[in-house]
Amino acid sequence: MSDDLLRVDDLHITVGGGPAGRRNRQRRGGRFRRGGRSSATAAGSGGLRAVHGVSFTLRRGEAVGFVGESGSGKTLTCRAALGVLAPGCDVSGGQIDFDGTSLVGLPRRQWDGLRGTRIGAVFQDPGSYLNPSHTVGRQLAEQFRIKVGHGRREARAAAVALLATLGLHQPELVYHQYPHELSGGMLQRVVLAIAVAGEPDLLVADEATTALDVTVQAEVLEALDRLRAELGLAVLAVSHDLAVIAQLCDRILVFYAGEVVETGPTADVLANPRHPYTAALLRVASVGDWRRRELEVIDGSAPPVGARITGCRFADRCTFATDACRTAPVDLRAVPDGGPGADRAVRCIRLGEIDPAARAPERAGVPA
């Protein structure tokens, strides 16, 4: 048995293709939006390319984090790995292996089996994945009954205990409430509980702690750490909160406009970003001294999905861009001086030439 749990290789995703592209109705209330075909269609049925060649490996018990610009393909990548792409979105190239099984083109029935027992997921907007007409306790206990095989009472006790573990103060009360009766942060923890109840091998957590205050967030991260230690749970986490990623994840992938622009051990990348986008993101993300209101932004905007760009996709916003950056596709290259066993890679032709963390003088300073 290999140590690799999830291997994604050169993944391409297209969106907005096929008849379902624009106005298909989406189900609300179901846990997953089904119907996403995962078969590799060569032409992507006329859709626009939203994810371009993403590769990464997640080992058992490891935690990998996705960060990057809003709309850069983080959620699409997670959904593809779970076989739950929305209608109109397709895997148009590449490979996804889960524990030795190829997931691309997997029949739906086998998907359902995998998702049910071995992979748990929390998506953005958690409220929409719960059934509004059942109490949250019933929905959580059901997981324990189906997946762990608990009896009714056992399942109930396990559900209440798990809610308490995730820092809900009155778990018995919450058990009896309906989704609309819970606050944003309570809901988020209920959905997380449902995802981990079946003791999966892999947890995909897309913005799973955004609605929590710092104290509760710390409790939830601790609970996840325990699950990783006790069950060997692997985590794929997406978050804009770099502190959360720093605490939870061993490795990080930085997304920009559908590509991974930088990857490596989390602490290394955050301390010493080598791609200009990563450096810019880190700079604007920290508020710095809150008494001085430096609300900096990265000038310009990312190219829209489907834009045909020959060279570096960040070039229009990059302070280090040269003509050479725009002439040919830029590959993700290993960082030669990344340190011992650092396993870092960056998609920038000027790697080694520039120090992206140093500010380019012409754009420095608070915008006036």
Binding site: R293, L295, V297
Partner: protein, 410 residues
Amino acid sequence: MNLADLEARPADSAVPPATPATGDRGRGRGRTDDPAVAVEPGAARGPASDTEPLLSVRGLTVSFRARSGPSRRTTVLRDVSLDVRPGEIVGVIGETGSGKTTLARAIVGLAPSDAGVIDVDGTDIRRLRRRARRGFRRGGAIRFVFQDPLRALDPDLTVGRSVAEGLTVAGRGTRDEQQAAVADALHRVGLDPAVADRLPGAISGGQRQRASIARAIVDNPRLLICDEPVSALDGSNRNLILRLLDTLRRTPAGADSAERDRLGMIIISHDLSSLAGIADRVVVLYRGRVVEDGPIAEVFSRPRHPYTALLIASAPSIRDEHGPSPAQLRRPADQLADRPGERGRPADACVFAHRCPFATEACDHTPALEPAVPGWTVACHHEPTWRSALSTNPAEAAATLTEGVNNDAR
């Protein structure tokens, strides 16, 4: 202004001037060249404190039917009061489940309230009859950005139609004007106007969040309530939105409109440092009660309520290195009486008493929310003396205070 005025707002003042959203997108979006976003550090940003409030909430109480437990109703907000003046941003903070969303929903009439006054521009909207209330809502004076954007955006309506809804319902402007206003709103929140043709399920989470902000600002509301408006955004887009909100409340709605017409705002957020970047005042909720309300920079630098102090000490991004540590503000675990019925205090006790290291017998009665200094109210029996007990072992902090009180009495 009365309700008739609100409903009969002329169409031309309601539709913002359409700025071309095509071409030049790159530079425009960053808006670094827009003088309106220049932010002077430390400058007084809010309105003078003598301006009449735009929104005045007094004694608001909200309860829901309890599903289990001894009492028949659970009270989620108790006796909550707050003011928002034109041009002012009021931040609302508090732990998860403290009642922040419920407060926002009650103000816009989406949650039923048991008692209190919600005064918007001189009208108590709680007392409006149904039709008048609906008219008021359609008038678009108050807009609400939901915490969960999927709830705000109809899954079957394109983003463009959802954003336009405020304008179409009120029949403001021609179709072309409406479309231009929608494109402008999308542009201002940093979205490619092409997303207007897509359904909410076919855009990313952060794009949905920005679309629901665009929907709320498209028809120039008087009061904007944003529930976690930047929680799904990367740092750059977060700052873009914060700057947009800051610009909106500085700029009066029309060229000839007065100070009085500036947008007032409530922003609910767990991201304290972002909030500190744009809010003027902060209201701290704990278990449905306001425990502190004051100027944000001062409150964050030197909180006057023990709960606020704990919250701020737990937030690395704003914590003052010379301020107390979380451990100094927490009661040792063995002294926690968090569960009801366990060595309980009376129902009437201070809401924070079960966790407060400074609690004494006096705290068995709810402290009133009273001004500590003008414009800064606090609900704590031991304000300001609790700080003097800080340096001691938290297990003995309350004892120090009790002695202090006894000594004072002698």
